[in-house]
């Protein structure tokens, strides 16, 4: 029962993270299940030295990296956004911009994409991201800076004049 609560509390976070990393709603659903499956198997070893969300994001990141490595080996095509993967009533952001953001994130390398998603989109602290990725905070800051500039350039047509 306790793990079920953990699942309900964090599944949205894990799904959004994995979706942003992969750009693929189907893969995100599958990887979310895999993340919690792995977490369930390792639950005895979780010593609560970090927050549960940090622990889960770490597992999700590893599962996603495995998926991306496999996909990169066998699929040269960028995943297509499945209809309905974004809420139709998201009036604050248009469909074209949603697609542009998703595509721009996919063009970042994995390290930059990870830190950008965790820092900017999921609003994690550098300390939490360092625990998730195992990277030094200095590297995370550099990656975030470069990711920002790259995304700003990619989305310039959408952000100018807002």
């Amino acid at each position: 029962m306790q793990f079920q609560l953990l699942f309900e509390e964090h599944r949205a976070l894990v799904y959004r993270f994995v979706y942003a990393m992969t750009g693929d709603a189907d893969a995100a659903a599958e990887l979310t299940q895999e993340t919690f499956f792995r977490a369930f198997k390792a639950r005895e070893a979780f010593e609560a030295r970090s927050a549960a969300s940090t622990w889960l994001c770490g597992i999700a990141r590893n599962a996603t990296l495995n998926h991306l490595r496999t996909r990169g080996r066998f699929m040269a095509v960028e995943p297509q956004e499945r209809a309905g993967s974004d809420r139709a009533d998201a009036a604050l952001i248009g469909g074209e911009l949603r697609g542009a953001i998703r595509a721009a994130l996919q063009r970042l390398d994995v390290d930059k994409r990870t830190v950008f998603i965790l820092k900017v989109i999921e609003e994690k602290s550098y300390e939490e991201i360092a625990a998730i990725t195992g990277s030094a905070i200095a590297k995370l800051k550099t990656d975030l800076h470069r990711a920002r500039l790259q995304l700003r350039e990619a989305l310039r047509g959408y952000t100018e004049g807002r």
């Binding site: 709603a25 309905g84 900017v120 807002r162």
Partner: protein, 142 residues
């Protein structure tokens, strides 16, 4: 000062561009539809039922094999009974036949070595009995 996010010159900790972009990315995050999901904890794998099922199947197979009634060899008992009756009818009229001992030995051997359902065995039994019967009938007519 410089923006802590993009390191561009800024009057505030986070510059206007980054603040605007942060809002845009927050809206994108909020627009992601998280599908309904349920988590089913994996059940521990029990293999005892596999062993029990295999043992049951083996027991059934052994039972079926051992309880199978071997059908009686077609022909052998019937042929032997027929010839014994014929020989019994012919015996009062027949003199002592030569090779009687050998013919009886041939009959006993044919019946002893007959495999159930083996047509060749039936033929051996018939031949052995028929040889004695024909000899008895010949001696009766002599």
């Amino acid at each position: 000062m410089t923006c802590t996010e993009c390191r561009s010159p800024s009057a505030t900790e986070i510059c206007a561009d980054c603040a605007r972009e942060n809002a845009m990315f927050a809206a994108w995050r909020d627009s992601i539809e998280v599908p309904a999901m349920t988590f089913h904890s994996p059940r521990p794998r029990n293999t005892w039922w596999l062993a029990a099922a295999a043992a049951a199947v083996i027991a059934v197979v052994i039972g079926v094999v051992s309880l199978r009634r071997v059908p009686p060899a077609p022909g052998t008992p019937d042929a032997a009974a027929h010839y014994r009756r014929a020989i019994a009818r012919a015996a009062p009229h027949a003199a002592s036949i030569p090779f009687a001992a050998e013919l009886d030995a041939a009959i006993r051997n044919a019946e002893r070595t007959a495999e159930p359902g083996d047509p060749i065995a039936v033929a051996h039994v018939v031949a052995a009995y028929d040889a004695k019967l024909q000899l008895m009938r010949r001696t009766a007519h002599d």
